[in-house]
Symmetry: C2
Subunit: 429 residues, 2 copies
């Protein structure tokens, strides 16, 4: 598209589909870049929940792209218009690329409010209906470097009819055309990148049609929508993504919406996805848990040994999780449910556990506090608990993406998968 | 008392009662000191709510003494005993003096649970009854540098009978004697300072008796209890404190419990109080407000001018506060009520106010964010709001104590009082 500088340079494609590369030319000056597979920095109203910019920047390996969502921002449009400096300045953000998506992946919106001409977002004050004109006016006041086009994504519920899915693909393409038309007329949005949205629910032909048609438009990349955690099994998701990505140009990035669990991230990367949203560590934090899964693919036996206690601990937790799930299927709708990648620090077993969350983790929380102290902060509802957990979970999650890229670079994806999916200290292999 | 190194060195006593000095010989090594009038660092379970130690230490002028309360800690006694390293190490605190008080001044306890042999504290899991033996066992596991003796403080309600007040004084003296007896037998508590507690409700003779008797014991200083905000008018409080402090030795510090409002702090200092608890900025933060009162006594007109917008702003807020109070007396029981020293950032007037909280304030929040952004974080319930407000309110409150000491040193207490109590841009004077 006119003015877009975003460009994906692939260094390696493993096993035909897993892509390793660098997304270059980001930001208005084109100076920023982002390694893929990678993820965007998830924020609420521009802030990583609980963390100041200062605290956040004590973490290394942070993504250069910050994600904000219109559902947070739409109700403040008049203030942003008066402010004039754009959302980045309004939120006190500095040297970061700003990506503006439609919905917040951490809080699913109610369905049934999409029309041919509008989509709705839900802020703290309730529903806000967006026409294409209002959507584009919002983008002008937000001044992002990159945004997701307007889309009808209401096809993620099981049993959505073929007719509804077809309509969603048609509407989303119509929205995209209208957005691009207004975009190209707008001086303010010159040089800003637009991602088209691939819809199609769980119907393969509609997914393929959506992908082919979107790829014909002058977009900088693609959002894969309606495939989020809770709406389908990974097997079906993998089939759909694999088919869709074959229809998309190699040199444009693919951003997966609503998927954050490490096992699902790995499967999506194997199916050809490049980018993710990092809402998962926030969800883990809000349930009082700490990410604790291993992603250590270092050949150094000393380093490998250091991660062992955490992994063993996690196995115990996993056994408990499995027990509680024996009487029913995994609840696909409930994203707030604890996963096997975390430990529940509110559990009594941690009240006298004087170890850090993860042995060898270099984050502020692990360097300064023990599980027992976190446990006590949580059971007594102290406000610092969320801050400390968010520091660790953010650090752990972004380090996992670092390990994922390292694994792709050094042909160790299978080893990483075994680590993440929980090879049980000698019981397997 | 045996082993105590705490010593108050007064540099100046203004107008016969306001004391300026340094409390020396704090901590087990005796290396720490605290300027008076001053305040202790208020914490929940060792953490300043919302703030990591790292974030906290971006603030200057922090007190060298951290206050923890048994109501937070008592339910974790078994874990602390197993941990063995004491509460300071358990909470990841470093170079700070640890002071352990009985109750949390920010959350008043229910009354009616005190007996001749026990007092009760309320943790997150409910009531915990403490005998002197259990109280002292707790102190041994906490390993503070300084603690408040056990006391019966249930006399703060209006209309408490003379008989009940007399009983409270008797019990508190009995508790103190028993604590000191066990303390002197304990090797673990060698060198640890004990503060006796002056009770007596609103009855002058009982206050005097409590002060005189407590002063006979080998205590390092005195807590003034039962005079907290919400239980009496400042006039009566001033009379009682003035009378009590005459009975206390000049070279031992007096710690006021449960008073945090700047106007009341000033009045208490004029009556002879040295130390305060800093729970007030936390209460202000929890109601979504920002401390914004002026304490600028600098002769530099440029600096003085800089504080003006905040003060003018505050006057508007104060007018509103006064209006809402016209139909009734100040609610003495409600400490959660907004005061005239703060602005309510949830108010719609701040939604497009692009200034910092306080012009010229050097805290992280004021240097990086505007009122409008704070307003939006608050109305959308974003978790960062509490972090940012806590940074500013803590910085502002401790800077106020710095200005108070400066005013005493340079004979400007009257000027400071006018500033704090709200001289209205030319309308007075």
């Amino acid at each position: 598209m006119a003015g877009s500088r975003m460009k994906l340079e692939l260094c390696r494609v493993a096993q035909g589909r897993s892509r390793l590369g660098v997304l270059k030319g980001l930001g208005r000056t084109g100076q920023h870049s982002l390694e893929v597979p990678g993820c965007l920095l998830h924020t609420h109203l521009g802030s990583v929940p609980h963390l100041t910019q200062d605290t956040l920047h004590t973490l290394s390996n942070l993504p250069s792209v910050t994600q904000v969502t219109l559902s947070n921002i739409a109700e403040h449009q008049d203030v942003l218009e008066e402010f004039k400096g754009g959302f980045r300045k309004f939120a006190g953000l500095h040297d970061t690329v700003l990506y503006c998506s439609l919905h917040d992946p951490a809080t699913p919106s109610p369905t049934g409010y999409t029309t041919n001409k509008t989509v709705s977002v839900w802020g703290s004050g309730g529903r806000i209906e967006l026409t294409v004109a209002k959507f584009m006016a919002l983008q002008k006041s937000v001044q992002p470097d990159w945004y997701q086009s307007m889309a009808d994504g209401e096809t993620w519920q099981n049993g959505t009819s073929r007719k509804r899915v077809r309509k969603s693909v048609d509407r989303t393409l119509a929205h995209l055309d209208e957005c691009l038309l207004l975009h190209q007329k707008s001086q303010e949005l010159e040089g800003v990148d637009v991602f088209g949205v691939v819809e199609g629910g769980d119907i393969l032909e509609e997914r393929l049609r959506s992908a082919r048609e979107t790829a014909k438009r002058p977009v900088a990349g693609f959002c894969l929508d309606g495939l989020q955690t809770g709406c389908m099994e990974q097997t079906l998701r993998t089939q759909l993504i694999t088919a869709v990505t074959k229809e998309l140009p190699e040199d444009k990035p693919r951003l997966m919406q609503g998927v954050g669990r490490p096992d699902e991230v790995l499967a999506c990367v194997e199916a050809g996805v490049d980018l993710f949203e990092s809402f998962f560590p926030f969800q883990v934090t809000e349930r009082g848990c700490a990410l604790c899964f291993s992603f250590n693919i270092s050949p150094d036996p000393e380093l490998a040994g250091r991660a062992l206690p955490a992994v063993l601990e996690l196995d115990e937790a996993r056994d408990t999780t499995e027990e509680t799930q024996q009487n029913g299927d995994v609840n696909l709708d409930d994203q707030t449910q604890m996963t096997s990648f975390e430990i529940d620090l509110k559990d009594k077993r941690y009240q006298d556990d004087f170890r850090p969350l993860v042995e060898g983790c270099g984050c502020y929380c692990c360097k300064n506090h023990q599980r027992a102290y976190l446990h006590h902060l949580l059971v007594t509802n102290e406000l610092l608990a969320g801050v400390l957990l968010m520091i660790h979970n953010t650090a752990h999650y972004h380090a996992f993406f670092g390990a994922l890229r390292e694994a792709l670079a050094s042909d160790k994806l299978e080893l990483l998968k075994r680590r993440v999916l929980g090879e049980r200290g000698g019981r397997k292999d």
